[in-house]
């Protein structure tokens, strides 16, 4: 870090992100415990199967609330534009690090924007289906067909969310210099110029 770096996330945004991240880990571990017998052992982390069943929905709802707050903050930066579609068409150049061939990127690249919207969708499905299968308070209001659909959709959305977060975490490991933006809030000027040139121009011109 040096004092010439640019702030990408303020302390409040970072706190919000990490609260969601921690809740995601807890929700994913407790959910996976009930997802497949091979992972039932994870329920031990939460005090056994019954505690896992009791805690999982509360963790999930908390994750959704904090995620919603984060999503409202970032939604404006995640509108898909024409250059994003071009970026996605050149996904091979992305994967093979040929960044110079890609269209100019703003605050977020198309991959980050797609991730954003996939997260929103899967979080919404998880919340709604999760309420239906929350036996203790809500399941009695729904018919058996709704329950079966909700159980299936909950598992599918959880799978999509977990794979998306694996991609999200790997991207932060892959693109060196990114992690700092969520840890201490800043990125170097060279990082911004290389990966997000349009955003870099925008913030330097503003000053």
């Amino acid at each position: 870090m040096n004092n010439n770096d640019i702030e990408r996330y303020n302390p409040s945004q970072r706190t919000n992100h990490w609260i969601v991240a921690i809740l995601f880990v807890l929700a994913a571990l407790s959910g996976l415990a009930l997802f497949h017998p091979a992972l039932f052992g994870l329920s031990g982390l939460f005090g056994g199967g019954t505690w896992t069943r009791i805690l999982h929905p509360f963790i999930g709802v908390a994750m959704f609330v904090f995620f919603l707050w984060l999503a409202i903050r970032f939604a404006g930066h995640n509108r898909i534009e024409a250059r994003d579609r071009q970026w996605l068409r050149q996904i091979n150049d992305v994967v093979y690090n040929r960044e110079e061939k890609l269209p100019e990127v703003g605050r977020y690249n198309a991959g980050q924007k797609v991730l954003f919207w996939v997260l929103i969708l899967s979080m919404l499905v998880l919340l709604l289906s999760g309420i239906v299968i929350w036996r203790e308070y809500f399941s009695s209001f729904f018919g058996i067909v709704s329950l079966r659909w909700a159980s299936l959709l909950h598992a599918i959305a959880a799978f999509v969310l977990i794979v998306s977060i694996i991609v999200h975490i790997y991207a932060a490991i892959w693109i060196k210099g990114s992690m700092g933006s969520m840890l201490y809030g800043t990125v170097s000027r060279a990082w911004a110029r290389k990966h997000h040139p349009a955003w870099y121009r925008e913030i330097t011109e503003r000053k």
């Binding site: 017998p37 039932f40 199967g49 069943r53 058996i144 329950l147 159980s151 299936l152 694996i166 000027r189």
Partner: protein, 312 residues
């Protein structure tokens, strides 16, 4: 029961003990002989020490109105006007767990060992391992399991597995005053049913038959029905019960595939990193940008002095 008799177990992917040859049992309920006295309901709560709360009447003979965590069997009364004969028929069916050969509850249950199937065909809930999620309700094609309000555990008919294991018949069978409920080996019960069906056919019930649905691999509670072509007449007994395809998709091969998918995503990242590698930024670019030089020329603490030079 001996643990070697547990031939299927919820949330367990390995093979169960299966070397012992034990005959399958079955309870046969002859609907045509049932008089709706509810002695079986009383015997059930008596033997199992269940005392359900006294509920309200909904204007029918069904009492309690439906199965609960403390009422594992309930007589369901249906009035049917037979268009052929013009007769009003009172169809009374003893509702309760069917003890499927392919139990949907067991397939859906995420808690290892909370639902077991014994070699004799009885499907039993082990409340000690039950976590109270209610997935058994989602999985059951017959709408049988109930979660208790008191302890959040799932309950249903055990087919008196405790009595059967010591050679006794289930309590409802013992008490039935008309012999409408009988118990024995599954083969014997089928033979018994065949005799009853022949008798019913003689009496004009052409469609009389045995309810032992293939969709769930057969059941260990079977009915003799006068109208075996229309099971739904008997208070919505499913015509062709199967484990719902939604449950099959939810609990089937998709789960290990999804696990594999998640593992593959992690591995894809790892191999991308080792083959393509990370993207680093040339921080040199950054230095040119700085308003002040990063490396300052610092005045050295030791100066080289040439004595020939004039001193300042």
């Amino acid at each position: 029961m001996a643990t070697q008799d547990v031939i299927a177990r919820s949330a367990t992917t390995t093979e169960r003990p299966s070397i012992r040859e034990i005959g399958e049992v079955a309870k046969l309920i002859d609907v045509s002989k049932c008089i709706g006295c509810k002695a079986c309901q009383v015997a059930c709560s008596e033997w199992n020490d269940l005392r359900d709360e006294v509920g309200t009447s909904n204007g029918t003979y069904d009492n309690p109105i439906d199965l609960t965590a403390e009422s594992w069997t309930v007589m369901k009364f249906a009035e049917y006007e037979n268009p052929g004969s013009g007769n009003l028929e009172w169809l009374i069916r003893k509702d309760g767990c069917m003890h499927c050969a392919d139990p949907g509850c067991l397939k859906a249950c995420p808690a290892p060992g909370a639902i077991v199937k014994y070699a004799n065909g009885i499907v039993d809930f082990n409340q000690d391992h039950c976590i109270g999620c209610g997935y058994c309700i989602t999985g059951c094609p017959f709408d049988i399991p109930r979660i208790s309000e008191k302890d959040k555990k799932a309950y249903k008919c055990t087919l008196c597995s405790d009595r059967v294991s010591v050679g006794l018949e289930p309590a409802c069978v013992k008490t039935c005053p008309t012999g409408a409920i009988v118990f024995g080996s599954k083969d014997d019960m089928k033979d018994h049913a065949a005799g009853r069906i022949a008798d019913l056919k003689e009496r004009g019930f052409d469609q009389a038959g045995l309810y032992d649905p293939d969709g769930v691999g057969g059941t260990h509670v079977m009915y003799v029905l006068h109208h075996a072509d229309q099971p739904s007449l008997y208070n919505d007994l499913p015509n062709e019960p199967t484990i719902s395809p939604l449950v099959g998709l939810w609990k089937g091969v998709t789960k290990p595939l999804a696990l594999l998918g998640m593992g593959a995503a992690v591995l894809a990242g790892f191999f991308h990193y080792t083959r393509v590698g990370p993207i680093r930024v040339e921080e040199e670019d950054d230095k040119a940008e700085l308003s002040e030089p990063v490396v300052h020329q610092v005045d050295p603490s030791v100066h080289v002095v040439d004595p020939k030079e004039p001193r300042p």
